[in-house]
Every structure is written in C-alpha cells, then in structure tokens.
C-alpha cells in the first residue's frame, strides 16, 4: 500500500501504477467457473438429424473365383440343408514326404490318417455319422490353386471303404499296406529329383462322402497328420499335410424368398452394393455417424433346421472395398475394410462407415470401389446365412445417418 501511495504521489509513475493494477486484477480474477446458465433462452445452435437411406444398388455376386486349398480347415461330408440345398463337400489330402520326420519306414510298417475335427463347427445332424470312402486321386492338383467348384479328380481305387465318423474330435483311419508301399517307394527314392517325382506322381487321397451322410465335418489342417509305425516301434512318426483342399457342390437349392439372399463365407456368394457418397446423398457434411445395417433372417435360419442339426455359427461380417476390375480376381479374405459382430438382439450387422465417408467427402479418398460383403471367414469351414435384400419391406439394407444441422438457432 505504501508503494502504491508512493507511486500515486509521483505522477510521472502513472504508467507503472496502471500496470500494477492490471497485474493485480489479473491475479484476483484468474479463476473461471463456466457453469450452465441461461438454458431458458439460449437456443440450440445445432439440431441432431437422423436419416435413413435405402441402398438401392444392391445385389449378390457369385462369379468371384473362390479357392479352397491350404486354409485352416477343410470340409468333408454331405448335408441336406432345407435353406441352402444339398451341400456335398469332398476333402483332398496329400502327405508331406520329409525324411527328417521319419527315420525308417519298414516294408511292414503301418500307415494311418489322423483327422483332427472341430465339433463346434459341424454342419448337419449332430447325432448322425458321416460315411466316407478314402479314394486315391488320379491326377496332379495343387491346394493353392484349387477352386472350390472344381470336381475332385478321383480314381477308381478306393483305399478305405465306408469309414464312419461321428462327433469325436479326432479320428485315426488305418490305410492299407499297398498305399503305404506306394508312399514308401517315393520315400526311399534316392534320385536327385525325388521331390519332383513325388509331387507329380503321388496324388494323395480324397475324402468322398457317401450317400446317406448327413453331416459335414470341419477338419483342422494343422492338427491332421499321416502317421507311420514300424512293427517294433511303440510310437508313431508323423508327416504333416503337404497339400489340402476341398470341393463343394450345391444341388437342389430352394428358390427361397426374393427379399433375401444366400451369403456364404467362402466367397462363392457375396453381397455387392454401392451408394453415392456426396453432400447431397448424405444430407449433411457434419456426420456424427454413418451406419450400414444388414439384417439377417434369423427366423428362417433357425426355424427351418430339423432337430439336432446345426450350422457353423455365423457371428461376424466383413466389408471389402473392391473395384469392378478387382472382382474378376479372387481375394483371400485379408484386408477387410470393415468388420463387425452380429447384434444378437435384432440379428443385424452394423458397420460404422463414418471415417470412410468423411475420408471420401473431405480427404479425397476414392469412391470408385464397390462394397463387397461376406460373413465370418473364408477358412475352410462352410458358413452360410440369409440376409435381407432391398426387396424387403422393412429390413432392407440401409444407411442410418446421424448428422448435425448447423444452422438452427443462428441469429
């Protein structure tokens, strides 16, 4: 205070005095507590708008080349699905021929096929057994390039006839000595091109389901082996699968309702749609959420299944962004742009497209692609579902757009 009076007494120091006051007041009033007042007359400066946009350009695509070899699983069996028709899956297997895996392979050694089965992904009647013939293949095939709709090239040589597999998670099938000897010849071939000879002349086996089977098995490829045991051995030597694949044939497919489409996880039938992405179509540029909703016909899926029958559970869907040119080639399921789990309350798949739409609207991202939708995974298990299409009255594919209208309330 004394200093203030001194400053005040000296008029030449008035700027200092003013500065002194300013600093003091800044310190005194430095705290703010912005609260909520005035709601009775402060109008909303924004309005939340909720719009629904039907996706008109919507269809299915079944022309995409689908490859089924060397996936995590291979399917084998047969099932008459009341919704998706009669599905016949033939498994193809070929053992490796690694000398490091087997020390000695005697002429009287035993050879087995051990199949690791995933009971949780059985497709069909869980109370039945599936009957297979193990038939020798008669021509070269490659898992990597095996198309799912290629017919399996089987010979007349039935190696094992009518073996039955129930709901166990693992089964060991003994193969005849003649088949082991055929394998042994390549194993002990000491020519320089042994591997090449094996590749082009040993074709492997096909798991061919027999009529009367009513179940398709999901066989785990990494858990399945060819086993070898010499007479004096107490343990088995094992060879992994060198190549594996499966073929699928669908017959007697019901025509179904025209307001829904079959969709398969193996890409043999996917949904294919597009919609314009611009300010007019979106209705706003202030997009808080753009959600794509696809509806699953859960009532038909579950209501038509006979007792004790199941389908591999579908709980996930994915969207890919592909140009029409890219659709001419296969895609392996990697690089999905969007993925979502099913909403079990209303059996919908809800994709959050907000970032993508904003990137197209404001970031210059290309919108020349189309949306390709598929379900679960292309991992060798036969996944199937029914999705409503744009012929549906209510559950048609749609965009739910939540946006902010910025002009409301502006003076």
């Amino acid at each position: 205070m004394k200093r203030i009076i001194e400053l005040a007494s000296n008029g030449a120091q008035t700027p200092k005095l003013a500065l002194f006051f300013i600093l003091g007041l800044l310190i005194i009033t430095g705290c703010e507590d912005p609260g909520i007042v005035g709601n009775s007359f402060v109008g909303s400066g924004a309005q939340i708008a909720s719009d629904t946009v039907k996706i008109s350009d919507y269809n299915t695509a079944d022309q995409i080349p689908t490859y089924s070899g060397n996936r995590s699983y291979l399917s084998a069996g047969k099932f008459d699905d009341p919704v998706f028709g009669t599905v016949t899956a033939t498994g193809l297997l070929k053992p490796s021929i690694s000398t490091s895996a087997i020390d000695t392979l005697q002429e009287d050694a035993s050879m087995y096929l051990q199949l690791k089965i995933d009971p949780g992904n059985v497709y069909g009647d869980t109370t039945s057994s599936t009957t297979f013939d193990l038939v020798e293949m008669n021509q070269l095939w490659r898992g990597k390039s095996w198309k799912m709709d290629d017919p399996a090239p089987v010979s007349d040589n039935v190696v094992v006839s009518s073996t039955q597999i129930g709901m166990q998670d693992s089964v060991v099938i003994e193969l005849p000595t003649s088949y082991m000897m055929k394998y042994r010849d390549f194993y002990y071939d000491d020519s320089a091109n042994r591997d090449s000879l094996y590749k082009y002349n040993f074709y492997g086996l096909a798991l061919v389901p027999k009529d009367g089977s009513n179940k398709i098995l999901a066989i785990n490829s990494s858990g399945s082996h060819f086993l070898f045991q010499n007479p004096d051995d107490t343990t088995y030597s094992q060879e992994t699968l060198n190549d594996w694949a499966y073929s699928v044939e669908r017959t007697n497919v019901p025509s179904g309702n025209n307001n829904e489409d079959n969709v398969f996880g193996d890409f043999s039938q996917v949904i294919n749609f597009d919609f314009p992405i611009d300010k007019q179509s979106m209705g706003s540029q202030n997009l808080s959420r753009v959600e794509l909703v696809l509806y699953q016909d859960e009532q038909t899926l579950t209501g038509t299944l006979p007792a004790n029958t199941v389908r591999p559970p579908v709980s996930n869907a994915k969207l890919y962004l592909k140009t029409p040119e890219e659709l001419q080639y296969s895609f392996d399921g990697s690089g999905a742009s969007f993925s979502t789990d099913i909403d079990s309350t209303d059996f919908t798949y809800r994709f959050n497209l907000t970032n993508y739409i904003n990137a197209v609207l404001f970031g210059g991202a290309s919108s020349d692609t189309r949306f390709i939708g598929t379900i679960q995974s292309n991992n060798g298990i036969i996944y199937s579902t029914l999705l409503f299409n744009n012929e549906a009255d209510k559950n048609f594919p749609k965009l739910l757009i939540t946006s902010v209208n910025p002009e409301t309330g502006t003076n």
Binding site: G30, E32, P34, G35, F41, G45
Partner: protein, 435 residues
C-alpha cells in the same frame, strides 16, 4: 514530445492486440450470457473520465482527456490528446438450474484527438467497440428411443462459445462557434466478426463429435452527430451549465456468413467449408439508432453534477436474414453522477492529485425475454490520477451492478469490474519562443 509518441504507440499496441482477441482461449474471455443474443452486448460511447460517474459523458467536457461521447467536443480541443485502456469484468451468473463465474479482459478503445485550429476545429481518430459477444453455454440433451438412430436413448452435449463483436473505426470533426456552441460529425466504418464455435459431444463413443464455427463478417458505414452548449454564470459567477447530445444513425451492415468445420481425415485434421458465403448469400444486419442527451451543472471549478438519458431503438434491429427479433426491446438508460476535483491547478498535496467520481445508472436493457426486460442497475466510482509533471492522467473506474432476474428462469448477473484508461495530453506543433 517523445514520451507522448511512445505512449501513443504503447496504447495503440495494447488496444490493437486486445481488439485482435489474442487472449488465451477460455481464459478471461467469457462475459455475459446475455451477449448470446443478437450481435452481443451494446457498448456505449464513453469518456473515461465520466465512466466513474456512471455517465457516458455526452455533456461533460474535459480539456485534458479525449472523449468519444460527443463529437462536438473535438471542436473545443486545445491540446492533442490520446486515450486507451483495458477493462476487466467479472460475471457471477445464476438461474434456477445453475451458476457460472466468468471473467473478461478487453480493450476499451483507442482514440487520438488533434486540434486543427485550437478551440475551434479539431478531429478525432478512434477505434472502439460498439458491441461485444462473449459467452460460453453448455447444454445437455437426451433424445429418447425412436428419436434418433440409436436403438437406445442418445445423450449429447452442446457447447457454444461466442466471441467477436462490432467495432467502429471513426474519423470525426468538431467545430466551435465561439465559447458556447459546438457541433460535430463523425462518419465511421463499422466492421467486425461475430463468431460461434460449437462443439457437439455424444455420450456414446460410437458417435463422432462435431466441431464447427459459424462466422459472420460484417461491414457498414455509420454516422454520428453531436452538439454541445455551455452557458456560464447561471446562478453565480463561477458556475457552468453544459448541455450535450449525440445521435448515431442506424447502421446497415452488409454481412457475409460461412460455416467451417474441422474434420478428422486420416491422421490429421482438415478444415472444410460446410457452407460457403455464396451459399448463404449476403445478409443485412441493421443496428439501431441511438440518441443520448445530457445535462451537467458545475457550481464551481471543484464540483460537477451530471445526468443523462440514452435511447436506442432496438425494436428496429434486423438480424442477418433481415428479420426483426421479437426479444429486442427499445433501450433506455438513465444516469446521474458527480465529480469532485479538489485542487484544480494545484496538486501539491496527496489528495489533490486525484479526481473523484461516483454515480449510478439504470438501464432498461435491449432484451425482453419471456416478458421481462433485462434491466441493469449499476453503481460506479472512480479515481483520476493526475500527473504533476504533465497534463496526462490515469483513470481507474470501478463498477458494480446487477443485471437481469431469476424470474421465469432467466439469469441474474452480479457484475463487477474495473477500467483503466491512460489519458495523454500534449501541446503539439508548438514552437517555443525561447529555445
């Protein structure tokens, strides 16, 4: 003289910085919530030396301090003058649902007045605010199920921060017809942005927040006229009776509005124009006419007593879309105040170094919400600190008042604040006879 120029430069720098609103965001930037409406709170033309009296000073002339209150004063100028300063206001607001405390630091004005012919013809150059928007509001809304795309109810919050306001760049002239009558005229460029910064935040992480700015740029021309009359020896040989008035004609602003928004794209943020000025089209905001009249009686050279009436025709206001606002109401302000100058010309004692001011004003307000005028009762007091070695001074004025009401869930504000003004006066362009 060098000190004078340096001081002008200092005041100008401070004023322009404050006009540019370079204060840290959200610190000392929120004012009255009532500034949400229209183009913000109107700011009166005031003389810093009359501020402590609660008056604008339309009928109070000071030889040593520049005044914006009445253009007629500039014709009576003898010394070159400059003034500028800062205001700090504190708002404690309450309604039935909440309370808030905000502070606002702003520039008052910058003004320089020069005599062309001493005591005959002078001109003024000034930059001053005429309205200020400075508020921050926060609202929460819950959309019930079925009213949004969310399956459940959707909670969102809206924060609205407004700033900006209209400023006046004015070049005016005053002319005196002898000792008694003066008149003045001041054309001006009125300009300034009105900004609303809105943020929409959701209670669910599934929804992206939306942030956007609504900017309205305004430009127009204004005209002010002033008159001042001084009569002496009314009741005794030392008294003066001053009568003053000023009229500010309506200002039609050409306004351009745009909406911009920051969008997250990839790893960065991009500002995009949501709606351009061309899409909005030109707007026209109409600011109302203002008339102020005052009467000051000085029984001697120590005391002054003054009163004023201000009228602003806010019912004539038009918004951007050329529409009247039904919440606008004509504004009347009545004020009385007194001023005490202990020792004119003799400042050798401590208390004689100050000028003492006090006053009170009633303002009917320019808003009428839910049938209630948003009135303000303001008490003012101030000190003028005189310089013993020059003609300059510093005015420090305090005010405390109450605005609004809690009736009908409106907002009642307690306002206190301080204004500090630096008044410079020099005799320029004067060649002493003796070097």
């Amino acid at each position: 003289m060098k000190y004078f120029y340096l001081s002008i430069a200092l005041v100008l720098t401070v004023a322009t910085t404050a006009f540019g609103q370079l204060q840290p965001k959200n610190k000392l930037r929120s004012g009255s919530v009532y500034s949400y409406l229209g183009v913000g709170q109107p700011i009166d033309y005031r003389a810093s030396y009359a501020d402590g009296m609660g008056l604008n000073g339309v009928a109070i002339y000071d030889d040593f301090s520049a005044s914006l209150a009445n253009p007629a004063f500039w014709g009576r100028t003898y010394f070159s003058q400059a003034t500028g300063g800062l205001s700090l206001n504190n708002y404690n607001a309450r309604d039935y649902s909440g309370r808030s405390k905000n502070s606002e630091l702003t520039a008052n004005l910058f003004q320089a007045v020069f005599p062309l012919v001493r005591n005959k013809l002078g001109f003024s150059l000034s930059l001053s605010p005429i309205s200020r928007m400075s508020f921050m509001t926060y609202q929460q809304t819950t959309l019930p199920p079925g009213m949004s795309n969310a399956g459940d109810s959707l909670l969102y919050a809206e924060q609205n921060r407004g700033d900006g306001g209209l400023n006046r760049l004015e070049l005016g002239f005053g002319y005196s017809f002898g000792k008694h009558l003066s008149i003045g005229y001041a054309p001006s460029l009125v300009f300034g942005p009105i900004n609303n910064h809105l943020s929409i935040l959701y209670g669910s992480p599934d929804y992206q927040p939306i942030v956007y700015d609504v900017e309205t740029k305004n430009r127009g021309f204004g005209n002010r006229f002033g008159i001042f009359y001084r009569s002496s020896h009314i009741f005794n040989s030392h008294d003066n009776l001053d009568i003053g008035g000023q009229v500010s004609l309506p200002v039609n602003l050409r306004s351009r509005r745009s909406i911009k928004s920051d969008k997250s794209v990839g790893n960065g943020t991009k500002t995009v124009i949501i709606k351009s000025e061309d899409e909005f089209g030109a707007g026209n905001i109409r600011m109302p006419m203002e008339v102020t009249g005052g009467l000051t009686y000085s029984p001697n050279n120590k005391w002054q007593v003054g009163s004023e009436v201000l009228y602003q025709q806010w019912s004539d206001y038009q918004n951007y879309y050329k529409q009247p606002e039904n919440y606008m109401s004509d504004r009347y302000k009545f004020a009385v105040g007194t001023r005490f100058l202990p020792q004119q010309g003799n400042i050798n004692t401590f208390f004689s170094r100050f000028k003492y001011n006090a006053g009170v004003s009633y303002d009917s307000g320019y808003l009428k919400l839910q049938g209630q005028n948003i009135e303000t009762l303001m008490f003012s007091a101030g000190l003028g600190i005189l310089s013993p070695k020059s003609l300059s001074s510093v005015d420090i004025n305090f005010h405390f008042g109450i605005r609004g009401t809690k009736a009908n869930n409106l907002v009642k504000e307690q306002i206190w604040g301080v204004k500090i003004s630096l008044n410079l006066a020099e005799r320029m362009f004067y060649r002493p006879k003796l070097q």
